[in-house]
């Protein structure tokens, strides 16, 4: 009631206060030294990285292709699509490879509703990948360069990864990019096709995300700089 002189404590103040009381700390008190996480980048030569990446991803049911040049990326993509429709992201590498020019491939949406509608209908989504993680067979996509839905709504995903972006694993990723939030609102590691074992522990692919993932690893020194 107004005028009773009681000041209402907000949940924020109360929780912070409870935390401090529980810990015997005062507001404004600094923190103790924080222990460093173990980050050790293994030595894996580039070619071995690609082989390891392929091994790991294929064990999960993904497919890995090797392209010596961008022109080959286009051919491999056309071979996978076999004329199917696809939504292609705005990654300059894909543009350079001429993928938006393939029959049935659409790209560049002015607004979100049309992007959504296209992703919901297309059998394939084609994106770039900012990084590969060899030890786990993962690719990293970030919202700064990719629409999030292209690698998510279509039942199959094709990603093009420059070989120079193939990192050894998580440790190297976090040394390269200790602050992923600085660059993008969303950073996603994708490790194989969508899966579930929720019914009788039986493996099912493509529950919500893509059932199939193809990664084309391309040698390109001069193609793009991100």
């Amino acid at each position: 009631m107004a005028g009773t002189g009681e000041i209402e404590v907000t949940p924020r103040e109360e929780i912070l206060d409870r935390v401090r009381k529980a810990l015997g700390r005062k507001a404004g008190q600094g923190r103790d030294r924080v222990p460093e996480p173990r980050i050790r980048i293994p030595e894996i030569p580039p070619e071995r990285r690609v082989a390891l990446f392929a091994e790991r991803l294929e064990a999960l049911g993904g497919k890995v292709y090797r392209a010596a040049a961008l022109a080959q990326v286009r051919d491999i993509t056309a071979g996978i699509l076999e004329g199917s429709a696809a939504v292609c992201s705005m990654d300059p590498l894909l543009e350079k490879a001429g993928i938006p020019g393939l029959p049935g491939v659409v790209s560049g949406f002015g607004d979100e509703p049309s992007l959504r509608a296209a992703c919901a209908a297309a059998p394939f989504g084609i994106t770039g990948a900012d990084y590969g993680l060899a030890e786990t067979g993962s690719i990293v996509t970030r919202s700064v360069s990719e629409a999030r839905l292209i690698s998510l709504l279509p039942p199959a995903h094709i990603a093009v990864l420059p070989v120079s972006r193939m990192l050894t694993g998580l440790d190297e990723f976090y040394s390269e990019l200790p602050m992923p939030a600085d660059a993008a609102s969303s950073t996603v590691f994708i490790t194989g096709p969508s899966r579930s074992a929720d019914i009788e522990m039986i493996l099912v692919r493509g529950v919500h995300g893509p059932r199939v993932i193809h990664v084309i690893v391309v040698d390109e020194e001069h193609a793009t700089n991100r």
Partner: protein, 469 residues
């Protein structure tokens, strides 16, 4: 006694149900085996080092939690998001309802979150006519069946494909199928519409990352990505204990979480989300909220000994390792959390008086502590809680006979002559037919295998041998 008769009956039913026993045994065995493969020294030589580190980082974070909460909040806001503090489930619900009302939202989608399970968020929202649709396949089945999750990482582990077929047939219009692959596609189709229509997506958070103002969410299906991407509003609901200091700490935690939970190196999707869509980004939510919930956690935080219960990253490994969970399953544990972790956090969240038997639901074999990726000393906490339960009962005058019996025993052992005599009398009485089911000890003995005392005690045998030398 500690357990209510209905609870005891329910547990006996579970143990006697061959269908559930088979499902439980095989699922936990699979998860256990897969975990063992990927944490073996050949596969991950640094495994023990990572566990020690994870434990240290969690310890440090909780000991300085106020600083990290404020840092997290500042960083979420710097990225255009908003942090909401909630003292309990009611305040979480009120916030979501208020926002839904303001934005005219009628339906929301949810990805798997034990925290919202803990506060019965779905029931609360539905009570106010806000439809909340679970989208994880297991959780979807559970929701349609009006059931409760059975396992932290495998919610529908107790159901067979026939059960799923029944549930779908009753609730959906798709033709009946008993093939898990086809059942999953039915869920995909039905839920796809929901994702695209929902006004709000609610997720949990595996980690809150202070230096980034980000939530990190791991999953295999893609439903968490859809929940946090498709609707115009994303709300992440998390307990305050989910905090870690820096993004790069994930190098430690991510290596442990999937390996311990499902035996994967990483889950299929690991999302690191900070704030709403930014300028130049093509999609993603326009609004981003993180609800930081207390709901009993600060009480736990005050206990320096048991504080480590809050290190838990909900991998589920202790459930799969626990001989008790593997027999009695998830539904016999009250609250959202089952298995060893449930046995230690439920009593601490809700108070020990409500389900005093919980800390006793363990053989103290130590398997849980051995597999825990953040090294929570679960058996020790169980013992501490047992002590608290007994003290609480003593204070209320319960458990009088048991306590008196042990006191008398203590008195006797200090008097050797009397002890020997009492032993001889006791042995003769105990060997009498039906002795174990009579008198005040009957209840105690009914759940224990009481060995018959030897006809002649060790003391007597020894004395005779010495004499005949």
């Amino acid at each position: 006694m500690l357990m209510k008769p209905e609870q005891e009956k329910q547990i006996r039913q579970t143990v006697a149900d061959p269908k559930i026993q088979l499902a439980l045994y095989s699922a936990t065995a699979r998860l256990k085996e897969k975990r063992e493969e990927v944490v073996a020294p050949e596969a991950l030589p640094e495994y023990q080092e990572l566990r020690t580190q994870a434990n240290r980082i969690k310890k440090h974070t909780l000991e300085n939690l106020d600083v990290y909460l404020e840092e997290f909040e500042a960083n979420v806001e710097a990225h255009g998001g908003k942090v909401v503090y909630a003292r309990n489930g009611q305040e979480v619900t009120d916030f979501i309802l208020g926002l839904a009302r303001e934005r005219g939202v009628k339906m929301l989608v949810k990805s798997k979150s034990m925290t919202t399970e803990e506060i019965h968020l779905n029931e609360r929202l539905e009570h106010h006519h806000l439809e909340a649709v679970e989208t994880d396949l297991g959780e979807y089945i559970i929701q349609l069946a009006h059931d409760r999750p059975y396992h932290i990482v495998a919610p529908a582990v107790h159901m067979t494909r026939q059960d799923v077929a029944d549930v779908f047939e009753k609730n959906l219009t798709d033709p009946r199928t008993e093939e898990p692959g086809k059942q999953a596609m039915i869920a995909r189709r039905n839920l796809r519409e929901k994702f695209l229509e929902a006004g709000i997506g609610i997720s949990g958070a595996n980690f809150l990352v202070a230096d980034s103002g980000a939530v990190c969410i791991v999953e295999n299906e893609g439903n968490a990505r859809l929940t946090t991407t498709a609707p115009p509003i994303h709300i992440a609901v998390a307990g305050i204990e989910k905090m870690i200091p820096r993004a790069r700490d994930l190098a430690v935690f991510l290596k442990l979480l999937a390996r311990s939970g499902t035996g994967q190196l990483l889950t299929v999707y690991t999302s690191f989300l900070s704030g709403p869509r930014r300028g130049g980004e093509a999609d993603g939510p326009a609004e981003f909220y993180v609800v930081l919930m207390d709901n009993g956690r600060t009480r736990l935080l005050a206990d320096a000994e048991k504080r480590q219960s809050l290190y838990c990253i909900r991998c589920g490994a202790c459930l799969n390792a626990c001989p008790v969970y593997r027999k009695i399953g998830g539904h016999n544990y009250p609250g959202a959390y089952s298995g060893p972790i449930g046995a230690i956090i439920t009593p601490q969240y809700q108070g020990i008086a409500k389900d005093p038997w919980l800390p006793f639901a363990s053989s103290l074999c130590g398997a849980c502590a051995e597999v825990c990726p953040v090294k929570i000393d679960i058996p020790k906490i169980l013992l501490d809680l047992r002590k608290e339960v007994m003290e609480d009962r003593a204070a209320r005058g319960d458990g009088f006979l048991e306590r008196k019996a042990f006191q008398m025993y203590g008195w006797l052992t200090r008097r050797p002559k009397l002890y020997a005599l009492a032993g001889r009398i006791g042995a003769r009485m105990a060997r009498a037919p039906g002795a174990a089911s009579m008198g005040p000890a009957a209840k105690w003995a009914s759940v224990r295998e009481v060995p018959l005392p030897a006809r002649k005690s060790f003391r007597d045998q020894w004395r005779e041998r010495e004499k005949s030398k």
